[in-house]
Symmetry: C2
Subunit: 345 residues, 2 copies
C-alpha cells in the first residue's frame, strides 16, 4: 500500500517533481519523457501512455501542456447478444486487441438482425473508420450502406456475397457434415437439429451440411426444432422433441448455449442419461463446454485464428489497400467429450 | 425473400421513388418524412432512424442532403473481464440502454485494476462526456484524473470515498453477513472463503461481513483461499481447501463463477455431494446460477435496479446538476437453491 500513499503525497508537492522522477517511475530515459512532452516528437503509444501515467502519479506538470495525440482511429463493433458466451469471449478479444493498437471502439449490441441494421446505420452517422459486425443477416441492406459511405465492413462469423466486403467465418457446412458423420457412425438413426435464428447464414450452413451428409448416408431427414440461440430456447426445444411420438436419439444444436439447455432438460428435467439415451452435440466450443458439468462434444470455432484474421483484414482496409477484401473460411474441428456416443470401430 | 429483391430493384430506379414510398415503408406520415429531411425540425430519434432506413431501402434521395444530427454524447464504459457472466449481462444492459438514448459508447475491458487506470486515461484523452467504470480499484488515481478533467465518473459495483463521484453498488457487507448467518444456522462450523481479487472493494466488503458475523456467532474464522474471480481459479482453490488437514464443510465464494468451479471440483473431480458433504454459496446470481446443473444458492445483486440507478446518475451528471453525485447502496437478497444446506428450523 506504499504506492498510493506516495502518490498522494507527491500530489501535494507538485512543483518539486522533475522529469527525472517521471523517468524513474516509468522506467524510461529522461529524453523519452522529454519527447513525450514535445509536440510532434515520435513516441510509441504504449510508452507515451506509461510516461503520462507516471507523470500523473508523481504529480509532474511539464511547462508544455499534456500532449495531444493525433486523432485516434475509431472502429465500430456490432456484436450479437452477449448472453451467448461465444460473443462475449469474442468481444473481449476484439476490445483488448483494439485497445492495444490504440484504436478506440464504439460498441453496439444487437439482439436481432434488424437491430443490427440500426447499429450499423448509427455507426455510419458517427463516421467510424471501419466496422466489424458479428450480427448481420446475409442480405443486410447495411452492406450497401457501408459501401455507399466508403466505410470498410468486415463480417465476423457471417457469410457474405457482396464485393468489397471482407468476411471471416468457420466452414459451417463442413462442420455440419462432420457432426452427421460422427453420429451416424455411432449407430444413431433418429436425428434432430435445433435451429438458432432462421435468417442467419451460420444456422443455414450448419443445417445444410448436416442434412446433406445424412441424406448421403441414406438416413432419414432430421426432425427440426427452434431454440433462438438461447439456453432457455434449447431447453424448451428439447422438451418438445422428446415428447414427440418418435423422439430422436441424437440432437445437434446450432450453438453450444442451446446444447447446455438441452443437456439440462434431458438430465435435469427428464431424468435421461447422456449419451446412453441421447447424444448431444453443439457448435462453437465456448469455454463452458469443457466444464465437467457439461462435457459437451462440439465443433470448435477457432476463435483466436478468426479474430487474428479479422484484425489483419481491418489493418488492410484501414491502410486503404485496394484489394483488402477477402472471404476467409477456417476449418472447424470436432472436439470429442462425453455428451455423444463414440463411433463404432 | 421478396423484400431484398424489391429494394435492389428500387435502387436502380432511384429517381422514381417519392417521400410517399418512404412514408409507407416506415409506417409514418408524409409530413414526418418531410420533417426528417428539414434541417432544424424536431423528430424523435427512433423515428428519424426508421425513416432514414426506409429511405435507404427504397432508394429515396431527398433534394436536401441526408440530415446531420447534433453531435452525439459519448460515454466511456470500462468493464471487467467479460468471461465473468456478471459483467457481460451488465455490459449488454448498459449498451442497449445507451443505444436507446442515442448516446454513443466507447468501450474498454480491463482484466485487472491497473489496466482499468489506462482505460480511463485513454477515455479522458478522447474527451468523453462521462465515464461508467465497473473495474477500478477503490484508491484508483483515475478518480482524481477524472475530477481534474471535469469528467463525471460513476463507479458501478465499486465503493468510493471521493467527493463528486457517484457510485452504485450492492450492500456487500450485509451480503456477507447474510451468508454467514445462513450457513451457521444450517449447522456448519468449518467455514472457508474464496477471495476474488485482493484490491477490489467488493471482495473486501463481502469478506468483512462474513467474518464479522461468524465472529459474532462465536465461530472460528474462515480459512481463506484465492480464486481470482475465475472458474478455473475457483476450481483450483476448492482442490487446495479440500486437501487441507481439516477441510471446510461450507465454502462461500466472492462471486458465482468461482462457485461454479468449486461445484465442478467437488462433484466432478472429488466425487463429493453438495450440499450433503459441503455447502457452497456464491455472490451475484448470474443467470447460470439458476440452471439445474448448478442450482447455486447465492446473493443476488439486483442488476436491473443497479443499472437504472447508474443511468439516473449519468443523466444527472450529464445535465450538469451540481449535486449529481450520490453513493447508492442497494440491498442484495439471498436466493436459496440446492447447493447449500438449509438452516434448521
Amino acid at each position: 500500500m506504499s504506492e498510493p500513499l506516495q502518490s498522494g503525497h507527491a500530489r501535494k508537492r507538485r512543483k518539486a517533481t522533475s522529469s527525472e522522477d517521471v523517468a524513474a517511475r516509468a522506467g524510461v530515459s529522461r529524453s523519452t519523457v522529454s519527447r513525450v512532452f514535445t509536440p510532434g516528437a515520435r513516441v510509441a503509444e504504449e510508452t507515451r501512455r506509461r510516461v503520462l501515467r507516471a507523470a500523473r502519479e508523481v504529480g509532474y506538470r511539464a511547462d508544455a501542456p499534456v500532449p495531444e495525440r493525433a486523432a485516434r482511429q475509431t472502429v465500430g463493433l456490432v456484436m450479437g447478444a452477449l448472453d451467448n458466451p461465444f460473443y462475449n469471449t469474442v468481444m473481449t478479444a476484439f476490445l483488448s486487441r483494439l485497445q492495444r493498437r490504440d484504436v478506440q471502439t464504439l460498441c453496439y449490441v444487437a439482439e436481432d438482425l434488424e437491430t443490427a441494421e440500426d447499429c450499423v446505420s448509427a455507426l455510419l452517422d458517427n463516421r467510424v473508420d471501419a466496422i466489424i459486425a458479428a450480427a448481420l443477416g446475409a442480405r443486410s441492406s447495411a452492406i450497401a450502406a457501408c459501401a455507399d459511405a466508403g466505410v470498410p465492413l468486415i463480417l465476423f462469423n457471417r457469410a457474405v456475397e457482396a464485393d468489397g466486403v471482407s468476411s471471416v467465418q468457420t466452414d459451417n457446412v463442413a462442420g455440419g457434415r462432420t457432426v452427421a458423420d460422427f453420429l451416424f457412425r455411432a449407430g444413431h438413426r433418429k436425428f434432430s437439429f435445433i435451429n438458432g435464428l432462421d435468417g442467419s447464414s451460420t444456422n443455414r450452413d450448419r443445417l445444410r451440411g448436416f442434412t446433406e451428409h445424412l441424406a448421403a448416408c441414406g438416413a432419414t431427414a432430421p426432425m427440426q426444432e427452434y431454440g433462438e440461440y438461447t439456453y432457455e430456447g434449447g431447453r424448451e426445444a428439447a422438451k418438445r422433441l422428446m415428447c414427440a411420438a418418435e423422439p430422436p436419439d441424437a440432437i445437434f444444436c446450432a450453438n453450444d448455449i442451446m446444447a447446455f439447455g438441452v443437456l439440462d432438460c434431458l438430465r435435469g428435467d427428464l431424468g435421461l442419461r447422456t449419451p446412453q439415451d441421447v447424444s448431444v452435440i453443439g457448435f462453437d466450443d465456448v469455454p463452458m463446454a469443457a466444464w465437467p458439468s457439461f462435457g459437451l462434444t462440439t465443433v470448435r470455432q477457432r476463435r483466436t485464428m478468426m479474430i487474428e484474421a479479422t484484425m489483419d483484414r481491418l489493418e488492410a482496409h484501414l491502410a486503404g489497400a485496394g484489394d483488402a477484401a477477402r472471404r476467409i473460411v477456417i476449418e472447424g474441428r470436432l472436439i470429442v467429450r462425453s455428451s455423444a456416443r463414440l463411433p463404432r470401430p
